[in-house]
């Protein structure tokens, strides 16, 4: 299943923590023209570098679908960033 939600949280030494929830499917729909252009560019790049196009897109899709569950938290002093994909 492709990722549905990206959560980003930034804790700063001063001020309130910023927390952003990004629903990925609506964002992907809004950015669809750009994504199609990027996919075409990727296909051309595959042809230029003699990489098989269909398996390359297959692996790309598998990578995308394997993203849910990824979580990265970085804390440096009093600043912290958390990114989570569900």
């Amino acid at each position: 299943m492709m990722p549905q939600l990206l959560t980003v949280r930034v804790d700063r030494p001063q001020g309130r923590a910023i927390r952003v929830w990004i629903p990925l499917l609506p964002v992907a729909l809004v950015l669809a023209p750009l994504l199609i252009a990027a996919a075409l560019a990727g296909g051309v790049a595959c042809l230029v570098y003699r990489v098989r196009v269909v398996p390359a897109f297959g692996v790309g899709w598998r990578l995308l679908c394997a993203l849910p569950g990824t979580r990265v938290a970085i804390r440096e002093g009093h600043t912290a960033v958390l990114a989570s994909i569900r």
Partner: protein, 140 residues
């Protein structure tokens, strides 16, 4: 019902053995079989779902921490990228490796072997302790 038990019951039905002999054989069979339940401390193989990376640093008295959780499925998908590397790129990489004193043929590395490697990762725990940093990589 396993095959050996079926065989014993078959021999009993054909009259080759007596009911007492069949009972003795089945008892011996049950005694020889391993217990179904695993020991409580043992983790079922292949159960790990995530690769965890924890880095604790202390630079100039300022503590830092990186805590990452990556699905093993992502690694499995990633190793399939190895199958997409064009032969000319592999040849260049092999030449560079040889020049660096690492005579390793990347063309011999198959995605199936890499997937098998990822499958065995759940048994691996890697810990590096330095005075100002601590790294721990494991699966959960």
């Amino acid at each position: 019902m396993n095959e050996q038990r079926k065989d014993i019951l078959g021999m009993l039905a054909e009259g080759k053995i007596t009911p007492e002999e069949a009972e003795q054989l089945i008892t011996a069979l049950e005694r020889d079989q391993p217990p179904a339940a695993a020991s409580p401390g043992a983790r079922p193989k292949g159960k790990a779902k995530y690769l965890r990376l924890e880095v604790d640093t202390n630079e100039n008295g300022e503590p830092g921490r990186v805590n990452a959780r990556v699905p093993l499925q992502l690694l499995r998908a990633g190793v399939r990228l190895a199958a997409l590397i064009p032969p000319q790129a592999l040849a260049k990489a092999n030449a560079e490796l040889s020049r660096s004193g690492v005579p390793f043929d990347l063309a011999q590395l198959k995605p199936e072997q890499l997937e098998a490697l990822v499958d065995q990762l759940d048994e691996v725990t890697l810990e590096v302790d330095q005075p100002d940093a601590k790294v721990r990589i494991y699966c959960e």
